[in-house]
Amino acid sequence: MSTLQIDFGRSKSPIVGIDLGTTNSLVAVMELTGPRILSGIVPSVVSVAPSGEVIAGSEAREMLLTHPDRTVYSVKRLMGRGLADIQDELKLFPFQVGPSSESVLKLQLGERVLTPPEISAQVLLKLKRDAEAALGAPVTQAVITVPAYFNDAQRQATKDAGRIAGLEVLRLVNEPTAAALAYGLDKRKQGIVAVYDLGGGTFDISILRLHDGIFEVLATNGDTHLGGDDIDHLLMRIAMEDIQFEWGEDISNRSDAVQLLRRRVIEAKERLSFAPQTVIDLEYKGRRYQREITIEVFDRLIQPIVDRTLGPCRACIADAGVTVEQIDEVVLVGGSTRIPLVRSAVEKLFRARPHTELNPDEVVALGAAVQAGILSGDVQDKLLLDVTPLSLGIEIMGGLVSKLIHRNSTIPASATELFTTGVDGQRNVLIHVVQGERELVKDCRSLARFDLKDIDPMPAGMARIQVRFLIDANGILNVTAHDLRSGKEQSMDVKPSYGLTDDQVEAMILESFSKAEDDLRERQVREARVEVDAMLAATEKARQSDAYYELSDTERAAIDRAVNELLVVYHSDNYLLIRSKIDQLDQATLPLAERILKGIKIDA
């Protein structure tokens, strides 16, 4: 029935906003009334079942206890990182490293060998399907959030994950900035806002100026390896020492016991946000370990972790060019900001009571949905001006870095440099691009090597190649080069220091896709049938009304015909065919709907 139906899927397909978190992920969409979360929290856990099926979300989280060696969590910590980077993580996380190269890290999950972007893609795929089920329409475009302090490789890896999951990533948005968007949406806020975001694995601090719908990030700082995970590890280490003493057994090599303990420790940690004391309570194979922990002891234990967030906060305030007194409000984001000690530390530093009215678990996804609305054109009056968190530079003589784009520059940002040859007849120039604040190349993060090649042979110093470094609105580097002598585009090879090449990503897309498409078709058919049921019921009811008898014979015949044709295609697996018959009945019932509507108006 035209008037009784909700118009699903017939407008342009929606862009979703995704918070791809270390611990949990969420998907949201922008609606007329504001951003809305589309499904429940999806744990960022991926498991390969013994059958070979890849599972993501709550089900996978349960597999952590039954199949710890086939299950992975907190994979966000590995995004865009190389084998050498993660030695510290390996001591704390049960990551099973597979056959990796120096630039591409791989994990072994049962029989499967997967890269971190492929694993994240499974979480994204789960979110995509949940969103499609909730919206009743295919979802192909998304805004995904990343920690503000993520470097180029980590951003690129996140974008790759989206592509592998069959999502066009229209924008990467920094998590604290997304939170500010969600937070500043309902009220026309002005002034300086600080966003303190302590999640499962990452810490970000951003300071923004809100002005007439523009959200201008003034500065950002953080630590991509600091979060609730660190607190969990601290408590686990203590518990494991206790257990060794009490049971006379080291459980650190029993991965199922470790995962069970991890869960108990997290539960205890969460209870301490509301209670003055709690008990870490573990039962494993008939044995029991209990340890009472008071909030005082907990606070003392985690003080060093909380303190590690304060340095970046002070640096951020200085870089933003504001004083503490000028900061009007502080917003808390991320599950770890529920911890009372974190709240009081923030309150002390900023001398203001932080805002907590939005759910810290949801605010980032809601903000991502707002940004999706900005990109689709549905949200017209808001604009986000974000910054790059790290300086970009190139290697010069002596292993030194020459900075081209400074941190906290509003993005997109660019810089051009002129390059030449040093030897007669030289055909190649190698440019090594790094990210970081230190003066020596070895202390910065290598991004990529660009090889300007096929330079016309000429005397040393005569070549004139202009290279443009551009950081786009996603915070990702783009490099183009021009030969100023010939005016032609200069060809070059790009070797990313960490992460996948374009071809590798392509191959991964194909693998996961065919299955996803089948699933989508099936779901679309199922959803169309649900819609048919509702329509037929509504039509049947309308046939009892007086309005039905006011219709002409041809109008009534058209309805009958449309109903019959819809019944014929009902069991077809052709989604488009069912849709076309739905449309036909929709049209046929239009006169009836109008009459009913008129009747309602007269009665009123």
Partner: protein, 176 residues
Amino acid sequence: MEFYEAFGLSPGLSLDAEDLKRRFYERSRQWHPDRFSRGSKQEQQRALDMTAVINDAFRTLRDPVSRAEYFLKQNGMEMSKDAPPELLEEVFELNMALEELRGGDDSARPQLVEAQERFTGMRAEIDRALGGLFEKYDATGEPAVLNEIRGALNRRRYISNLVRDVAKELNVYVAD
């Protein structure tokens, strides 16, 4: 000069900061890539290029020092990297004190704190003088004034580096 053109401004050393910010927001609203995500590839590229220029220009022009450096460079005047001769003696002593501190001798600390304050004061003085020179040049267009500005900028940059080095040793964080 591209950066002035990006905001529809005629080149000059003095600038109204509020007016510049207003123009920046206005042009950001018009050109930001977010506004063109459903546009053609060419439109998107143009938005990206335009916004990059707008951002680079705003970053350069809003700060009086980087604005003046840009202005001088566009007028064909390069900055010198040499130490200003009148500071040489003081810098020599300062470096000695820094060495001592690095070597673990904490007795140099008060001297450094004092030097830090003095240099910060000198920098503030240069900033005040620059404001006057900017206005003078904008009014007269005399090349001699531009030379004077270059001298002041060289001195300022040198002092800024010293302040930063000392701050690093004293373990205090300062923004550039």
